[in-house]
C-alpha cells in the first residue's frame, strides 16, 4: 500500500477514521473545516438571495399599487396602529441581537449562554407573533380582511371610524375606496409571508434549543447556528422595510 494519504483515502484500511486526524464534523469531500464553513455560508446566502427576490416581488407590487391608488393606500394605512408596529420592530431587533449573541456563545463554546440566547430569541419571536395576532384580530373585527365580508365603511364614512377620524381622513369616492382592498391584500400577503418565515424560524429555534442543551453547536461546529442566524437576521431585515412602508410613510399624506 502506498504511503500517500490521497491514495489510501476511502480504502478499507481507512475505516474508523484511522487514516488522518480531523474533527468528526468535517465531511470527506472538503479539504478543511474552513472550506466547509465557507461553502455552507455561500449556499445559505444563495438561498437568502432567492428570498430577497421573493419578497422583492411583493415590495415592487406594493410600490406600483401605492402610486396608482395613492389616496386609497394612504387612508388604508391609517388603519394600522403605529404603537404595535413600533413595539414589534423593537421585539424583532432585540431578537436579532440575542441571536447574534447566541452565535457568539456557540463560537466561544459557552453552552449555557447559547441555550439562554436561543430561548430569549424564541420568546421574542413568539411575542412578535402575539402582537401580530392582536393586529390581525382588529382587522378581522373591522372587516378589513379582503373578501366577501370586506367593509368600506372606514373609508366612505371616516368620521364613524376612530382611526380614520384621528388621522383626519376625508371620505373617498366609492371607486377609490374599493382599492383599499388592494392595500389590505398586500398587507396580509406581506406580513403573512413574513409571519410564516417567523413561524418556521421559531420551529427551528425549538429544535436548536433541544440540541444545544444536549451539547451540540458548542463543540467547535457552529455552522448550523451561524446559518440559522443569517436566516433570522434576514427575516428581521424584511420587517425593517415592511414597518416604514406599511405603517409610517402615509402618516402625513392626506392633507
Amino acid at each position: 500500500m502506498s504511503d500517500s494519504p490521497a491514495i489510501i483515502h476511502g480504502a478499507p484500511e481507512a475505516e474508523g477514521h484511522g487514516h488522518h486526524a480531523h474533527p468528526p464534523y468535517l465531511r470527506h469531500h472538503f479539504e478543511s473545516v474552513e472550506q466547509q464553513a465557507d461553502t455552507t455560508n455561500f449556499a445559505m446566502w444563495l438561498f437568502l438571495l432567492t428570498e430577497i427576490m421573493f419578497f422583492g416581488g411583493l415590495f415592487t407590487a406594493y410600490l406600483i399599487y401605492r402610486n396608482w391608488y395613492y389616496p386609497a393606500f394612504v387612508a388604508a394605512s391609517h388603519q394600522l396602529n403605529i404603537f404595535w408596529g413600533t413595539l414589534n420592530t423593537l421585539l424583532l431587533i432585540t431578537s436579532s441581537f440575542t441571536m447574534a449573541m447566541g452565535v457568539w456563545c456557540a463560537e466561544t463554546r459557552k453552552q449555557s449562554g447559547l441555550v439562554l440566547c436561543l430561548i430569549l430569541t424564541f420568546i421574542l419571536g413568539i411575542g412578535f407573533l402575539g402582537i401580530k395576532t392582536i393586529e390581525y384580530k382588529e382587522k378581522i373585527e373591522k372587516h378589513h380582511v379582503p373578501g366577501f365580508h370586506y367593509s368600506l365603511n372606514s373609508f366612505l364614512n371616516p368620521d364613524s371610524d376612530e382611526a380614520a377620524k384621528a388621522a383626519g381622513d376625508k371620505p373617498l369616492p366609492l371607486d377609490m375606496a374599493r382599492h383599499t382592498e388592494i392595500y389590505f391584500s398586500l398587507y396580509f400577503a406581506m406580513t403573512g409571508m413574513h409571519a410564516l418565515h417567523m413561524i418556521i424560524g421559531i420551529g427551528i429555534l425549538g429544535f436548536m434549543i433541544f440540541r444545544a442543551r444536549a451539547g451540540a453547536y458548542t463543540n467547535g461546529h457552529v455552522t448550523f447556528v451561524e446559518n440559522f442566524g443569517l436566516y433570522w437576521h434576514f427575516v428581521d431585515i424584511v420587517w425593517i422595510f415592511l414597518f416604514p412602508l406599511l405603517y409610517l410613510i402615509s402618516r402625513h399624506a392626506n392633507q
Binding site: 474552513e34 425593517i240 422595510f241
Partner: protein
C-alpha cells in the same frame, strides 16, 4: 496535519459582543428616528427619509449581525450581486410602468 486543521479552525472570525451591542443600540436609535420622522410633515421627503433609514439599518444588520464585513470575498460578491440584481429588476419594472400609461389608470 492536525495542527494545520486547528490553525484553519482558528481563522474563523469571531465578532466581539461589543460590536453586537453597538449595532443593537444604533438599530434602536434609528427605529426611534424613523418613527419620529413619520410624525413630521416633510411632504415628498417622508417616504424618502423612511426608506433611507431602513437602508442604513439593513446595511448595519448585513455587515455586522450577518458577518459580511468579516466574510470571504466570495460571500461579499454574492451579497453585492444579489442586491444589485434586485435593484436592476425593480428599476426595469418601474421604467416600464412610468413610461407606458402613467396617469391613465
Amino acid at each position: 496535519m492536525t495542527e494545520e486543521k486547528e490553525l484553519l479552525e482558528t481563522q474563523h472570525h469571531v465578532v466581539s459582543p461589543k460590536i453586537y451591542v453597538a449595532v443593537f443600540l444604533s438599530l434602536l436609535v434609528f427605529t426611534g428616528l424613523t418613527v419620529g420622522a413619520s410624525y413630521i410633515e416633510m411632504g415628498v421627503f417622508n417616504p424618502i427619509v423612511a426608506i433611507a433609514i431602513a437602508c442604513i439599518k439593513m446595511v448595519l444588520v448585513v455587515l455586522f449581525f450577518m458577518h459580511v464585513r468579516y466574510s470571504t470575498k466570495l460571500t461579499m460578491l454574492t451579497v453585492g450581486c444579489g442586491f444589485f440584481m434586485f435593484l436592476v429588476l425593480i428599476s426595469m419594472t418601474l421604467a416600464d410602468y412610468i413610461s407606458r400609461a402613467w396617469g391613465q389608470w
